[in-house]
Assembly symmetry: C2
Homo-oligomer: 96 residues x 2
Amino acid sequence: MIVNVMEEVVEEVLKRYQTQLKLCCECQHCTTDVKALALNDLKPKYVTNPDHSVYVRAVLEGDPQEVTKLLSVVTRAASKVSSNPRCDSDFTQKTS
Amino acid sequence: MIVNVMEEVVEEVLKRYQTQLKLCCECQHCTTDVKALALNDLKPKYVTNPDHSVYVRAVLEGDPQEVTKLLSVVTRAASKVSSNPRCDSDFTQKTS
């Protein structure tokens, strides 16, 4: 079975920085859109053995440049989704 | 649910060009290694709705440049695995 470790990493960033990302909507639809957008902008890191993902993540999270890139990609994806959410939540009350 | 359409596309290429790729071993372990290596060299194409993968694949397969890149990436991954297979098949009979 192959796994793209970046999926877990982006999921973790979304959870850890949820408040700072200021998503206008945190529904499943919107967070999934942010994840897909971010992953399409990040180099994949597939492993054939899920046990190896811990190692790959450690290398990633230990590299300041990778972390900075990761945060900027996720932040950009979050603002794209926030400016144009595709879910059917009603934003009129929130913004007035 | 998010899906990287490239996973299906690489799987399809492996099946369609199995003979031309001349993998020294076609066991699950080796084909999975080829898939992971190839995917790590290809820009991901995540979709949030699996029904959209058909559309993304059509655009990909309709672009000669993408198809050429895809075939060269998979061929390179296949030759890397063939020159250094990690599975425990015994290659001594095959090569003597």
